[in-house]
Subunit: 259 residues, 2 copies
Amino acid sequence: MQKQKPVILITNDDGINAPGIRSLVESVKDLGEVIVVAPDSPQSGMGHAITIGTPLRLNKVEVFEGIASWECSGTPADCVKLARDKILHRKPDICLSGINHGANHSINIIYSGTMSAAMEAAIEGVPSIGLSLLDYKFDADFTVAKQVAHTLTRRMLAKPMPEHILLNVNIPITTLTDFKGLKICRQAYAKWAEEFDHRVDPRGKDYYWMVGKFVNMDQHSGTDVDALKAGYASVVPIKIDFTDMKMKEWMEREWQDFV
Amino acid sequence: MQKQKPVILITNDDGINAPGIRSLVESVKDLGEVIVVAPDSPQSGMGHAITIGTPLRLNKVEVFEGIASWECSGTPADCVKLARDKILHRKPDICLSGINHGANHSINIIYSGTMSAAMEAAIEGVPSIGLSLLDYKFDADFTVAKQVAHTLTRRMLAKPMPEHILLNVNIPITTLTDFKGLKICRQAYAKWAEEFDHRVDPRGKDYYWMVGKFVNMDQHSGTDVDALKAGYASVVPIKIDFTDMKMKEWMEREWQDFV
């Protein structure tokens, strides 16, 4: 008896028409039954936003040949929730988000719509991977990223990881020849140093554009930023429990007089 | 010589006109120089969204007597970034976000605009607390929450915690008489089981409202959800490194053939 094909849910935050999601669909369509539910417009920087105050639209579209696809008016996290409840009526076997046009390593996981979709799947207990290419250009070359997506998806389907862990995968700008392979890493300690560009509108009122400069403040080795610099794709296992357990123990001792 | 008063930055996600932020301002204004920079409209469920594709507005307003206040067109995270760069021109000594009308315990930290503001401050190395009352009503009673805010802010200013740790504080619906005090906890493993309410608009097109049911799946003790049920305010130390270090070590062993 033939084993049923695994169901692969694909979403992103650049919108259903971005080349990155097309590359992802192409790279894994031989591994299972691919279903696409993705935002109908770019959602970069949406973090883990969900849509509660306005209703959501969900339209079946023909974007990828032979692949059942829906576009959604909501955020990446909304797409994952809607896909499960209204389209699949079950958990997918894996959820892939991306391939993002631009990096989501280190602190970017907090701001990233790509990663929030993967995180939403992990909350549901669905194995998931967020994939991002360090090239933010529309016509970026996804060749290496596609290979990484295929390799990791095959691995995750064959040897499932514990529940509620997701992978944050970033791929350097490189060629298949120069690509060094995968590296298991930790999230670098980094931030965006924002400077707001102050302007005055035609009516004389102030406004501001956010412009940020990425600052890697991590002094130690083993980070995703290091791995990417060295030509590896970084693979960071991410958990959804954000408790600082060491700090909790410290507070239980030091705050005894207090709580 | 008199020591300079600490600068207390206050923001929220319910908007600058919500009673919760007014309660927070009142509760801590004796502890330092309070500056308010908060969204000009409700931003619940915005997660860690930031505004990159549209410009931001920032207007000085008179909302709280004797307190310098600005309203911002952006998200809670935007407010913290703008406050630092364009108003304070330095780091505040502490950042307080809230008091939110509604719970932000357990998994809600991921979706919460209140917590994203506190997290943004923590990324910057600013001590920060996100505060939420379990009562989502506009006319909720913030008496206990105000006492908790004052107690914790005083403690944090007197005995700073390590950098890049923030506190997620939730306050039960209770009275000063029945209130049990603070409890150091870990984040409960929980999720929202979403069911989308399907409707049809006057033009015959489908739309969906997100409706969720909170499900606590945590089988063990010591969680924020448990503490709140027992009448305590829950205090969870949160870190901004989401790496699952145990999983990283496991992968470094088990994936040797692979990476």
